[in-house]
């Protein structure tokens, strides 16, 4: 049987942008992004729901695209832009429109899925915005309610029944 080794792991230097601030750290190759964000940088807004990529509670943005941070090796964050729920809030403490709309629409109950939901909605808005700016791209229509549902499939919620979360996302697209 293979013996478990302790304290002999090689550490790697990485640096990346965390919520627009440049950060550097030394990590094991096996460190996952979720643990790095929560345990090293102590940003606890990103939630550990399953550690196996099924629930979406730990969703963060890597260069604007959504990932389950529980399945993303932190070493691959090197040189990238990571955005967490803490990066969404405006610098004066006022809520980002996504957060404001989720609150107003009653889309938050226990809130444990909310960070991931908000980041997935942000990613969908990014995608939509980028598509709008591609020259010659003809995507003009707002996503349908069904498309929004499909996009949020990877984020589980046990409290709300999703309806008000989808209402909020739909409202955000309307606001543009």
């Amino acid at each position: 049987m293979k013996k478990i080794k302790y304290n002999k792991e090689i550490l790697h230097d990485i640096s990346f942008f965390l919520n627009e601030k440049k950060v550097s750290c030394q990590i094991k190759a096996s460190t996952i992004l979720l643990d790095l964000i929560r345990d090293v940088f102590e940003l606890k807004g990103t939630k550990p729901g399953c550690h196996e990529g099924e629930c979406g509670a730990c969703t963060v943005l890597v260069d604007g695209a959504p990932v389950n941070s529980c399945l993303f090796l932190a070493i691959n964050a090197n040189g990238k832009k990571i955005t967490t729920i803490e990066g969404l809030i405006n610098t004066d403490g006022s809520l980002h429109p996504i957060q404001e709309t989720l609150v107003e629409k009653g889309a938050v109950q226990c809130g444990f899925c909310t960070s991931g939901m908000a980041m997935s909605i942000k990613a969908m808005l990014n995608q939509y915005e980028n598509a709008q700016h591609v020259p010659g791209d003809i995507i003009q229509d707002l996503p349908t309610r069904e498309e929004i549902k499909k996009y949020l499939e990877g984020n589980l919620c046990r409290c709300t029944g999703y309806t008000k979360i989808i209402d909020a996302a739909e409202e955000l697209f309307k606001q543009g």
């Binding site: 099924e54 629930c55 809520l95 226990c110 444990f112 899925c113 046990r158």
Partner: protein, 773 residues
């Protein structure tokens, strides 16, 4: 004279949503204390085995391991509703969850590695995984900690209830239907896994628990019993709770284990469940087999119900064993009924044990009852809506069990969903060859004003106003995401004329807050609301007296609005904060503070389970339309029409959230969710194989609140939280049966079960068949 309400009834967003939506809310997973250790639990490899030896030597050598405990290292009492559950197991394992040893280590990783180094020798036994097998004479006694007051050694609990003359009611029945229903295991799947942080102070011998419990004062008492401490030396602080749904009504072994690790080490210890551990070791909705025989006379009046329930109790007894208390209410009192005889038996097995789960047995009961009502309607050739309307409960009814329906929206709920869903047209709609549509109806009855299952079903409130005109509500009640803090703040804003932003709710610390029995039984708005209103009344008497003095008037009637106390007669006004300052700082000096303990008018039921157990009762009806793909067996829920007697809408936004969230849990129970077990082991302990519904699966929900204005409720409101999911599976099953002309006696209605039902019905020339897979 009813005053026009300004805040109550408006869609106020959840006051604590801001911290949750910005990642600033501190859940149990986010707590870090100085010098904190990480705990992990070794569970048995075998659901039934003799534990021959436990070798900790290798694990203890691992650097970073601070403490390992087994049953031999602790002096504790059992936990559980019947005190039949050892915290750490000694000598034998009886359930796949069984805690054999626990480790506290410097990091989570080291704690996990240590578990792998613990060597346990088991002698595997043949377990008992079927409640019927457990009742056989040859079966071994599974739980050794019970008093043995029942005729069979493996019976954990029994419930007997009856009213009316059953034999006469049988004779008066034109038709009788009997069916056996089998209900699955469903799990809460809270988005935050179970978590606890314990901090024992060796100097003053006090224990601090950061716990997600839903019942902090009962938790404090039970924890004290387990650890042989005084309850008051245990302080329970609830961090933000990531989902409850009833799962945190019992204390579970990991919580005293965490406390023990902290007591042994003198350092704070945290235990967080992995998702797999959550599926394996957190509670479930009771699986049960319900035998229901029911009759109807030739006019369509329900005559009697005879019910025998066999519940798989698992290896230990939790509050889940007491669900027949609620189940019998539906069987005895949902729709008018002349006679009822009810027996329920909970039997020990080597399976996992259940806990309480939103609805508390009622979804199971309602599924069986509402399915049989459809069958009775078919027997006498009566429309399924008509038979329900004929038998619906009425205002003023006192049921055979002694429940007083002082207000009752049952008939109005039924009428509403029948009309809004266009039920009468849809029930005979033309069918496509492949996609078949159907519509089903179901109603429900549930406690709506607390449930007196403890000596007190009360809640205390302390209320204060500070010299700046801000109000602090210190409430015994608990927030688990449902929005109770917001509803309480709205009541205070309404009554005191203070802006919502100036109201704070303190409700998370047993050292501070007054007693309350916990968040369950859809009771918080009703009981905590009434408690708050009682405290407000006392405080306003003090404030009004002072205001009258300051105005040099004899006026005693005042309105509270916009931060002012206004004389009704003269319209003179004085600022609320000024009145408070005058109370505090001028003689006779007095605090602007008041306390009130509200106890509902309900009665603790006698040993025959008769009596008015709740301050109010909630009713709801649902009409659900489905489309069944007869090629794949897939059931799509198209529209849900739901009318619910909520008494009074306190906050339409939060009410909508309770309805939608509850409904989707009900749809999951009906169609996809089942914790699969084989010989005591859980086969699908992850979100990939345990099918919780996603955003793509949601139906269109049409909600119609019915306001019956119950005089017992705050502003007329009743409890709302559990009701939405109770009739959902029943209505969906009725709809699928309507679509296909088949019959189901099991949940969930997976594609496999639906296809099998279709193929059997083809074989049998479309005769109605009993499908049991």
């Amino acid at each position: 004279m009813a005053k026009k309400l300004k805040v109550i009834g408006t869609p106020v967003p959840k006051q604590d949503a801001n911290i949750r939506v910005t990642g600033k809310a501190v859940y149990g997973h986010d707590i870090t204390l100085p010098n904190m250790l990480h705990g992990a639990i070794l569970r048995t490899e075998h659901p039934s085995a003799i534990i021959q030896s436990i070798d900790l030597s290798e694990a203890k050598k691992l650097p970073g391991v601070v403490c390992i405990i087994t049953a031999d290292d602790v002096d504790v009492n059992n936990i559980g509703y019947k005190r039949d559950h050892p915290i750490l197991k000694k000598g034998e394992a009886n359930c796949t969850r069984d805690e054999i040893a626990a480790v506290a280590a410097e990091t989570k990783e080291i704690a996990k590695q240590a578990l792998e180094l613990i060597k346990v020798k088991y002698k595997v036994r043949k377990g008992i995984y079927d409640a019927n097998d457990a009742l056989k004479d040859s079966a071994p006694q599974i739980n050794k900690f019970i008093s043995g007051k029942f005729e069979n050694k493996n019976i954990a609990e029994t419930f007997h209830y009856e009213h009316g003359n059953l034999e006469e009611a049988k004779k008066n029945s034109a038709h009788i239907v009997s069916r056996r229903f089998t209900l699955p295991r469903m799990t809460h799947a809270c988005m935050a896994t179970s978590n606890v942080t314990a901090s024992f102070n060796k100097v003053d011998k006090k224990l601090l628990m950061y716990s997600s419990t839903q019942v902090p004062f009962l938790y404090q008492r039970d924890m004290a019993h387990a650890l042989k401490m005084s309850p008051s030396d245990i302080r329970v602080i609830q961090p933000i709770i990531g989902g409850g749904f009833g799962s945190k009504l019992d204390i579970h072994p990991f919580e005293p284990i965490c406390a023990l690790l902290s007591m042994k080490t003198g350092r704070p210890v945290q235990i967080l469940f992995s998702r797999e551990e959550e599926f394996i070791a957190s509670p479930i909705r009771q699986p049960m087999v319900i035998d229901l025989t029911a009759g109807v006379d030739k006019k369509g009046n329900f005559t009697f119900r005879e019910i025998n329930i066999l519940k798989d109790n698992g290896a230990y007894t939790s509050w889940g064993a007491t669900t027949p208390f609620v189940i019998m209410q539906s069987f005895s009192s949902l729709y008018k009924l002349k006679a009822c005889k009810f027996n329920a038996t909970a039997v020990y097995t080597n399976n996992v044990f259940a806990g309480s789960f939103r609805g508390y047995g009622n979804p199971q009961a309602t599924f069986a009852l509402e399915r049989v009502i459809d069958l009775l309607a078919d027997k006498i050739g009566m429309d399924k809506a008509e038979i329900r309307l004929l038998n619906a409960n009425e205002k003023g009814e006192v049921t055979g069990q002694g429940l007083h329906f002082d207000t009752c929206g049952h008939k109005e709920c039924l009428e509403t969903v029948i009309k809004k869903s266009n039920y009468n047209k849809k029930v005979i709609a033309k069918q496509d060859a492949r996609f078949k549509k159907g519509i089903g109806l179901a109603s429900m009855l549930h406690v709506g004003g607390g449930a007196k299952i403890y000596r007190s079903d009360g809640c205390g409130t302390t209320l204060k106003i500070d010299p700046y005109g801000y109000c602090t509500i210190i409430s015994g009640s608990n927030e688990i995401g449902q929005g109770s803090e917001t509803v309480l703040a709205m009541m205070a804003a309404e009554e005191l004329g203070i802006d919502l932003k100036k109201i704070k709710v303190i409700n998370t610390d047993t050292d501070v807050k007054p007693w309350d029995v916990g968040v369950h039984a859809s009771r918080t708005s009703f009981v905590a609301g009434n408690s708050l209103l009682g405290a407000i009344k006392i405080l306003k008497e003090k404030l009004s007296k002072k205001a009258s003095e300051l105005m040099n008037s004899s006026h005693s009637e005042f309105d509270y609005e916009n931060g002012q106390i206004v004389s009704v007669k003269s319209k003179d006004s004085i600022a609320l904060d000024k009145v408070v300052r005058e109370m505090h700082f001028s003689e006779p000096n007095e605090l602007a503070i008041a306390s009130f303990f509200y106890e509902p008018s309900s009665k603790f039921q006698d040993k025959n389970f008769k009596g008015n157990v709740s301050g109010s009762y909630a009713f709801a009806s649902q009409a659900i339309e489905v489309e069944v793909d007869t090629y794949t067996g897939n059931v799509k829920v198209l529209d849900i029409y739901v009318a619910q007697d909520v008494g009074k809408v306190l906050n339409p936004l939060l009410l909508g959230g309770q309805i939608e969230g509850g409904l989707l849990q009900g749809v999951g129970y009906a169609l996809t969710e089942e914790l699969l077990m084989h010989e005591g082991k859980i086969l699908n302990p992850n979100f990939h194989n345990y099918k919780m519904l996603t955003a793509s699966d949601i139906p269109d929900i049409h909600f119609f609140p019915i306001e019956t204005n119950d005089k017992e409720g705050p502003y007329g409101a009743k409890g709302v939280g559990e009701a939405p999911l109770i009739p959902t599976a029943a209505a969906i099953a009725n709809a699928v049966c309507n679509a296909l002309g088949v019959e189901f006696v099991e949940l969930p209605l997976t594609p496999e079960r639906v296809l099998k039902a279709i193929s059997l019905s083809k074989i049998n020339n479309n005769h109605h068949n009993l499908i049991s897979l």
